[in-house]
Amino acid sequence: MIKSIEELAEKRSSAKSEFYPKRVRISVGMGTCGLANGAGDVFEGIRDEVQKQGLDFVVRQVGCIGFCQMEPIVDVLAPRLPRVFYHHMSPERGRELVSGISEGNFCTKWALARLDQDKLLVELDRPLDGKLNGLASVPTFEQLPFYKDQVKIALRNCGFIDPHDIEEYLAAGGYSALSKVLMEMGPEQIIDTIEKAGLRGRGGGGFVTGKKWRVCRQAPGYPKYIICNGDEGDPGAFMDRSIMESNPYVILEGMTIGAYAIGAEQGYIYVRLEYPLAVENLRSAIKQAREYGLLGESILGTGFGFDVQVSRGAGAFVCGEETALIASLAGYAGEPRTRNVYPAEKGLFGRPTVINNVETWANVPVIINKDWKWFAEIGNDKSKGTKVFSVVGKVRNTGLVEVPMGITLRRIIYDICGGILNERKFKGVQTGGPSGGCLPESVLDLPVDFDRLTEAGSIMGSGGMIVMDDRICVVEVARYFMEFLTRESCGKCTACREGLRQILEVLERITSGKGVPEDIELLEELCLYVRDNSLCGLGKTAANPVLSTLRYFRQEYMAHIEQQKCPAGVCRELTTFRIAPEKCKACGKCIKVCGVEAITGKKKVPHLISEDKCIQCGACREVCPFDAVITV
């Protein structure tokens, strides 16, 4: 138990020597993505080899550095040498790596990058000798296109610290913001700082965080509550999962600062059911924070008390909406309510409540540490700081990308993420999940911020970015989102419950080739009806995927209706696959992948698809290296 701020400082310096030990330290990235790619076996392989050889190495598990494409990732830190990251590791490669290092040879075969200065991504500077030990050919982090334009604020420390060891967070500068707040700042001053920094809610709404806190602080009522919204429901967004898994402490520190500012004693973290590892890591972090006196009755001996508990969601997308989440936390079905009174005045159990999402909380300690001016200089006029995007889909580099607000979509998709997979043609990008819109090539130079995305017919949302190529049918994507939202609508408002069902029916008609020209008009009418007559964010934005695709891709809808064709070759009823004999090199890949044995062919003879047997799954088109599978 740490009893004072001075003691915390002492603890930090002893933790630092463990964080940068005088021996080799090997860290394995073990977030959900890493584990699914076999990081658990890599960890064991490395640990066993170290033991077998009797080496004095430290082997740790850490979270995720956000470059999902390259998992499993391992980093090696030898005293006074640059940190080196290795990609696509396997247990065998891990063992080879260990053997090499034990002999002083840093393998460069699987090296992804070297990081000369930790302060780019962590708070710390590290003494270096300037020697490179044969690592000169490995690019530096700043040279990697994926990281070059990134600025890490919310993702700071993710993938560098062990999420199960609070001392690692302390060593990396953790809880210095809380110390500063408790020693030097009053609640009003904290709120001023957050407000002047221009921090806006990262969960989708973009409401000014400082304002929310002020309203809550001034609202009468006791007790007050702090909630962290970890119900990251947008399919395609996973930055909050990554923060909860990789650096749960930053969320606790942010919430504790928030609690001190508004005068709350109890906090809740609401995590969606699908994130078991996030729940586990948060619970372990809370337990440790209590043991260290960083949560509990008298934090750091100051007399200020605050505690946090984790609640698991139960599988309802609408619970990401704050009033629904509050209902769920109180033990009711997650149905949103009218917002004529904000949760900041009357929230959980009818008391003043501040609710912010994970990424927002993760920004708070950094703003306090660095001051608001530093933060406000990042980003553009109305959207300050950075935003984390999860860029996935048909893009070469997938992963978490944290960039200053105002950067263009083109730079994110082409410069950072390396453009479209397999050199195909860009078609559109869905931002904001099911509440967002699908944006075409013509708006790729749009600066990404809260307001401009809304003007373009989409939203920032929680930061999902799904990149689509010409083999994706936007009408089918719109249908997919409507199917999702129809299922997830809580059913309270008739417009949302029934309207979405009607929209879905029309889209199903169109994608199965039964659409009529009047359907377009009907869709538009229904969309506006749902938007204007629903209570909460889910209903108000539900029509965005349809409205935005009607706005930018109307000709594709028309092709489905008038020509009975799906130009992308996705909608099964409107697609016939054939193999172009002049392109087919008779390699047999399509025959192997076909699940229904619809393709026949011999060596040196162009293959044939049997129309009777083909189920239009498109698997053959995906594997064909010669683009010989065409739609007719």
Partner: protein
């Protein structure tokens, strides 16, 4: 007859009805589904209407009122997974196990659930069995995974 384990769970949460969702989650974890008797018992012990308890278990998609299989297969239909071959995986599971979303195999080995997003989009399409996540799935890999589960079952049987 009262279910002892249910009482224990309710006591763990100090009979606090604001913890209703969590109580029911623990009940489900204990029994692998929520038995009807447990619904009534929870309502009675917390002194709340049965309709409220029933509302919760039918509103939230993770609750099941029917007995589920030994292994929970979760197939992700998040946007990225949807675009990268969800349909083909779903059809393959149907071919392999003969079950669609929400159904359980006759031998009570597997229950299939389709969820919106597991948050592992970079590995799409994704399937999880009992919290173990399988990335970059293809129908072929689906076959291999279930074959290994079948083998496991066989070796366990012959070991007895």
């Amino acid at each position: 007859m009262a279910l002892k384990k249910v009482d224990k769970i309710i006591d763990k949460y100090q009979r606090d009805d604001s913890r209703l969702v969590m109580i029911l989650q623990d009940v489900q974890e204990e029994y692998n589904f929520v038995p009807t008797a447990a619904l009534e018992q929870v309502a009675e012990r917390l002194q709340i209407p049965l309709s409220r308890v029933y509302n919760i278990v039918t509103f939230y998609s993770s609750f099941s009122l029917e007995e589920r299989g030994k292994h929970l297969v979760i197939l992700c239909n998040g946007t990225t997974c949807h675009l990268r071959g969800f349909d083909n995986l779903r059809d393959e599971i149907d071919r392999q196990l003969g079950i669609r979303a929400g159904q359980t195999t006759k031998d009570k080995m597997f229950t299939l659930e389709v969820v919106a997003c597991l948050g592992a989009c970079a590995l799409a399409p994704v399937m999880a069995i009992d919290e173990k996540c399988y990335g970059n799935m293809t129908p072929e890999k689906v076959r291999t995974v279930f074959e290994s589960y079948r083998k496991m079952k066989k070796t366990k049987k012959s070991g007895k």
